[in-house]
Each structure stands twice: as structure tokens, then as C-alpha cells.
């Protein structure tokens, strides 16, 4: 079996970098490390499929020995999808732990009623001011109407 040296080096670098970052305490860095290592494992799977060949579609005049091995590619696709799901969950978890770190356990009981009231007042102000604007415009219009016949 032959393999591409470039990909091999890339895999090694990603592995090393990923593990180094994973050892940090910050959860976000752990996630980034996980992503790097996850991708390097994907490259490892790809390397294991042997030399690249034609697209793995069997048809007339296609020699089965010349196409690349489709199975590892299916593995990689599955692994990517799983990593995506795990990443989104980790992001939610990181956000949640940040939220708890900022506000503590009281974070959940922070009432947003005050915010809502403020918003409502602002909205009322806007409505009032826009109503006043409308009236003013109407007066100007009326005034111009009265002036027009002359």
C-alpha cells in the first residue's frame, strides 16, 4: 500500500496540534482540539484507503481495480456528520457553562420582566411620538391645502 506523504504530515500536525490544545483548561479550546484531532482521524481513514483512483462508480469500461475504495469515504462522511452533531452540542454546553459562570445559579431566575416593561415603554413612546408626528404632518398638509386654492 502506498500513501501520500503530504497527507501523512498534515495528519501528524493536526494530531499534535489538536492534542496540545485539548490539554488546555478552557472548554472552547478543548472543542477546537477535538475538531482538529477529529479531522486528523478522518485523514487517517482516508490514508488507509490506499492510493486515489477514479470516482468509485462502476460502469461500462471501468476497471474495478482503478477506482478508489469508496468504503473509507463513507466512513469519513459518517464521522463528519457525527462530529458536527457533537460540536453543536458542545457549543451549547459551552454557552451554558459561560452563562452559569457569569450569573451563577441565579442565572436561571433572572427575571426579564423589567426588560419587557422597558421595551413596552419604549414601544409606547415610539407609538406616541409617531402619532404626534402624524398629527403634525397632517396639520402641515391641512395648512397647505388651505393655502392651495389661493
Amino acid at each position: 500500500m502506498t500513501a501520500s506523504l503530504t497527507l501523512l504530515i498534515l495528519m501528524a500536525v493536526l494530531f499534535g496540534a489538536g492534542i496540545t490544545i485539548m490539554l488546555e483548561r478552557s472548554l472552547t479550546r478543548v472543542l477546537i482540539g477535538f475538531l482538529l484531532v477529529g479531522n486528523s482521524v478522518n485523514i487517517l481513514i482516508y490514508l488507509m484507503s490506499g492510493m486515489p483512483g477514479l470516482a468509485p462508480i462502476l460502469g461500462e469500461g471501468v476497471d474495478p481495480d482503478e477506482i478508489s475504495d469508496p468504503l473509507p469515504q463513507a466512513f469519513i462522511l459518517t464521522a463528519i456528520v457525527i462530529n458536527l452533531g457533537i460540536t453543536s452540542f458542545m457549543l451549547a454546553l459551552i454557552y451554558r457553562s459561560w452563562w452559569l459562570a457569569q450569573l451563577g445559579d441565579e442565572g436561571d431566575s433572572v427575571d426579564d420582566t423589567e426588560d419587557l416593561l422597558e421595551d413596552a415603554e419604549e414601544a409606547a413612546d415610539l407609538k406616541r411620538s409617531s402619532a404626534e408626528d402624524d398629527r403634525a404632518i397632517q396639520e402641515v398638509l391641512d395648512a397647505s391645502d388651505e393655502e392651495a386654492p389661493r
Binding site: L44, L71, I82, L93, R96, D105
Partner: protein, 531 residues
């Protein structure tokens, strides 16, 4: 309908159920009905499969999507798979009923039911898929399904404590998954297949060192999942913080999926590469280190988590011995341990409700307050401690006999090592009994009035749970919902049934162990042979 058509149902039903549950959203009753129906159906299907497989004396293999093995994914049900699916479905159903009881009583403050039911069914699908996977990569997918669901269940509600515990659990699981995936990649590179039956043939042709390296890498991944010493550090930190039913199902099932994968690795995948001496050493250490951890815990949930780790050691010991009797005893022990550990965690949930605490230093007088609860704790506790005539005793005796029979011929390792591990097993069993009866003495036997200023040698070495900052006196006992008690009682009854019908079940486990022969497994997937 052919038996082949039944096999995919085991995974399909829970997945469809999960989808229906998501659609049903806030209709709680409908969700409960769907989940219960699905799990019952899986239990029935799996029992049917077990009967068919046992009758025919050969496994069933299904090529999913009519892609023939070794290219497509195959699902394989032999006796071991069927036994595992049956017992998991029963336990999952029991815990579901318990969780519903708790949810109804708590008005779902702790467990948002709209998330709980779909996730729970997906967890079940992952567990079942891992048990019937005939392909290493499909096994990986099964693991990922159950792990992703377990992440959600463990951090349910998102309190600070659960997030902290969840982060440890998730990162450890992620790393073990990366190991597993790398192992699959390297194995594929070496053999050009991920089909377990074909691997069994092709891996044996590899040079011995290559086999050993791939073998150890795969064992490392499974060892983390099965919580084998020294890879078990994460378990006692993460399991106890989840809600009681979730801890129960994790403790009962998730580690056993790892054990199941190790059984398959040792018997079928790497039948030719022998690491049984390592397994014996690791099994013995897991028993001793785990149970010593349990001794110092004041909190019953943490105590039980340590006994869980420690008793994984028995199964690893059985796999290490590796004789037919050894594997039969391991299978029986796995079934016993799934039910008894789940039952104990469910009882702990009841104790927590009833006594408002799980700490040995703050519980007292439960025997008088609730004799039923006392029985529900006492029977599984004796069972786990290995008191005759319970199934724990029978399983351990089976393992010890298997070890003793193999020892003179140095099966699995040098004779002195096998004897040492048997001794370790006996000691572990006694210490388990000590730890659990100590809890019994304090929480159930001791009078309520003795609680204030109580001093005993039994309590001198226990450590409080770091987060135990609750009230120092007992609050009024709460009523325990009927459903929770019914579910717990049902599981305790199952553990007793395992004892009563120990003969037939042990025979079945024996036949399952014979089925584990690599040639047998290969002939199920490839009747015409494979190279």
C-alpha cells in the same frame, strides 16, 4: 414473516418512536404511551429472536439494504446479542416507568419530558444497535448514538453541577471515540474490511505484533467505555449527579455495552491474539481499587458508582479466563449485574425522595418509616454482595469455578495469577457486602433519635460528597409516587427471578458462550466461507 425481517425492528422501532415523540411535543401522556409501547415491542421482538436463535442453534445475519457482506452493513443476532437486547429492553422499560412516576410527581421541574422521551428512545436505539452490529463501523455508530443521547440526558436541566459532571463525561467519551475511530482506520488499513466476521479471518493472518497493537488500541477504546481500571476515573464523578432514573440506566447499561464489545473483541475479532494475562491483571485491579474507593464514600450514589466500577472487574476476569464456562459465567454475570445495579440505583432514588438525602451521615430510621423501601434495598444489596442463594453468588461462583478449573493448565495466565484474582474477587465481594450493610445499618437500622451527635467507627473514614451543603437535619418525609415504587419492585423481582431460574438461564448463557466460537460467528455471516 421471516426472522430476518424482525432484526432491524430492534433499532428501527425506537428511532421511529423517538421521531413520533418529537412531533408529539408537549402531549406528555401520548409520549409516555409511545415510549412504553416501543420498548415493550422491542422486548417482545428480541424475546422472539432469542427463541428462534436458540431453537435453530445458529445466529441470524441480515444484510441491510441488500448490500451483501462484506461491503454492506450486516446485523448479526446470535444468542449473546439476543440475550443482551432482551435484558436491556426490560431494564429500559422499567426505568422508563420509574422516570414517568418521578416526572409526574415533580411536575417535571427536573426533567423536561418533551426532551426526555425522544432522547431516551434514541439512547435505547444506540444500545440495541451496538448489540446487533456485525460491522465494526456500525458498532462505532451505535456507540455514538447512545453517547450523544447520554450527553443530553446527563446534562438535562443544565444546572451548574450537571454541566460540570457532564463536561468530564463528554470529553472522556469523545477521546475514547477518537481512539475507537483510529483503531477502525488502522484495522481497515491492515485488512481492508470492517466486517467483524471477515476481520476474524483476516486479522489472524497479520504479523503478531501488528495484531497486538491493533488489539490494544481497540481494547483501550472499549476499556474507557466499560470503565475498567485505570480508565474508570471518570465514572464516579459523572454518574451520581444525573437524575436517579438516568443514573440507573447509565449504570446498568452503558458500561455493559463496553463489556459486550470487549467480549466480541476477545472471542471473535482478535481470536488469535491473546492478551488474557493483561485482562486478568486489569480485572483484579479493577475489583480491588473500585471497592476500596467505595469504602470511603458517605454518599450512597457515589458508593454505588464505585461498586459498579469494581464489579466490572468480575466480567473482565471472566473474559480473561476465556474458557466456555468462563464466558458463560461472564454472560450470566452481565445479565445479573445490569438488573441488580439498576434496581439499586432506582431504590437510591426512592431513598433520596423519602429521606431527602443520600448521605450515610444524615439518613436514619428508614426501616420504621418504610419497610417496603427497606426490603427493596436489602435484597439487591445482598445480591450484589454475593450472598447465597442470590444470582450474584451464583455468577461469582461460576466465574471462580471457571478460573479454578483453568488454573492448573495455565488457561488465560499463570496459575498463581488466576488464584490471586479469585482471591481478590472473594475479598471484593466481602467488602461490597460491608459497604452496603454499613449503609443499611446507618440509614435503615439506626433510630431517628440517634442521629444527633452520633459517633461510630463505621463513620470515621467516610468522606462527604464535596457538594453536600444541604440541610443537616431530616426534613419531613415525602410521599413516594406509586409508579416509582412499582417499577423498582418489578426490577427487584426480576433480580429474584434470575436467581429462581438460574439453571435455565445459566444453560442458555452456556449455549451463548459456545456460539462465540469465531468459526460459528463467521459461518452465520458467510455461510460459504470468506477469505
Amino acid at each position: 414473516m421471516t426472522p430476518e425481517a424482525l432484526v432491524p425492528l430492534v433499532v428501527l422501532l425506537p428511532l421511529i418512536g423517538a421521531a413520533v415523540n418529537l412531533i408529539l411535543g408537549h402531549h406528555r401522556r401520548a409520549q409516555v404511551a409511545v415510549s412504553a409501547t416501543v420498548l415493550t415491542a422491542v422486548a417482545v421482538v428480541a424475546t422472539t429472536l432469542l427463541m428462534i436463535v436458540d431453537e435453530a442453534d445458529r445466529g441470524i445475519s441480515v444484510a441491510v439494504g441488500a448490500w451483501e457482506a462484506p461491503w454492506g452493513i450486516v446485523l448479526v443476532v446470535d444468542r449473546l446479542s439476543a440475550i443482551m437486547v432482551v435484558i436491556s429492553a426490560v431494564v429500559l422499560l422499567g426505568v422508563l416507568i420509574y422516570a414517568v412516576g418521578q416526572g409526574l410527581a415533580d411536575q417535571d421541574r427536573e426533567t423536561p419530558v418533551s426532551i426526555f422521551h425522544p432522547t431516551y428512545l434514541i439512547l435505547s436505539a444506540g444500545v440495541f444497535n451496538a448489540f446487533i452490529a456485525g460491522d465494526l463501523f456500525n458498532l462505532y455508530v451505535g456507540f455514538e448514538i447512545l453517547l450523544a443521547a447520554s450527553y443530553v440526558l446527563l446534562t438535562l436541566g443544565g444546572t451548574g453541577e450537571r454541566i460540570r459532571a457532564g463536561v468530564t463525561y463528554i470529553i472522556v467519551s469523545l477521546i475514547s471515540s477518537l481512539f475507537f475511530l483510529s483503531a477502525i482506520a488502522l484495522i481497515y488499513g491492515a485488512t481492508g474490511t470492517a466486517n467483524i466476521a471477515q476481520l476474524s479471518v483476516r486479522l489472524a493472518e497479520l504479523p503478531e505484533q501488528t495484531q497486538l497493537m491493533l488489539h490494544l488500541l481497540l481494547l483501550l477504546a472499549f476499556g474507557i467505555k466499560a470503565a475498567v481500571f485505570p480508565l474508570s476515573f471518570w465514572l464516579p464523578d459523572s454518574y451520581p449527579t444525573a437524575p436517579a432514573p438516568i443514573t440507573a440506566v447509565f449504570a446498568g447499561l452503558l458500561t455493559k455495552v463496553g463489556v459486550y464489545a470487549i467480549i466480541r473483541t476477545e472471542t471473535v475479532i482478535f481470536a488469535d491474539s491473546d492478551v488474557s494475562t493483561l485482562l486478568l491483571v486489569v480485572g483484579g485491579l479493577t475489583m480491588i481499587v473500585g471497592i476500596l474507593g467505595a469504602l470511603t464514600q458517605a454518599d450512597i450514589k457515589r458508593l454505588l458508582s464505585y461498586t459498579l466500577v469494581s464489579h466490572i472487574g468480575y466480567m473482565i476476569f471472566g473474559i480473561g479466563v476465556g474458557t466456555e464456562l468462563g464466558l458463560a459465567a461472564t454472560i450470566y454475570y452481565v445479565v445479573h449485574h445490569i438488573t441488580v445495579q439498576t434496581a439499586l440505583f432506582l431504590t437510591t432514588g426512592l431513598i433520596e425522595r423519602f429521606g431527602s438525602s443520600t448521605s450515610i451521615t444524615r439518613l436514619a430510621g428508614l426501616l420504621k418509616a418504610s419497610p417496603l423501601l427497606a426490603i427493596l434495598f436489602f435484597i439487591p444489596a445482598l445480591n450484589l454482595g454475593g450472598i447465597p442463594p442470590f444470582s450474584g453468588f451464583l455468577g461469582k461462583v461460576g466465574l471462580f469455578v471457571a478460573g479454578a478449573e483453568g488454573a492448573p493448565e495455565n488457561v488465560g495466565g499463570p496459575a498463581w495469577l488466576t488464584w490471586a484474582v479469585i482471591a481478590a474477587g472473594a475479598i471484593t465481594s466481602l467488602i461490597t457486602l460491608y459497604a452496603l450493610t454499613r449503609f443499611w445499618n446507618m440509614a435503615f437500622w439506626r433510630g431517628r433519635d440517634e442521629l444527633e451527635g452520633y459517633d461510630s467507627v463505621l463513620l470515621q473514614s467516610v468522606q462527604e460528597f464535596p457538594d453536600a451543603s444541604g440541610a443537616t437535619t431530616l426534613t419531613a418525609t415525602r410521599r413516594t409516587p406509586v409508579l416509582m415504587v412499582v417499577a423498582t419492585t418489578a426490577l427487584v423481582v426480576v433480580t429474584i427471578l434470575l436467581t429462581v431460574f438460574a439453571g435455565p438461564i445459566f444453560d442458555l448463557a452456556g449455549r451463548a458462550a459456545i456460539n462465540l466460537e469465531p468459526a460459528m460467528y463467521v459461518s452465520v455471516v458467510f455461510p460459504e466461507g470468506v477469505s
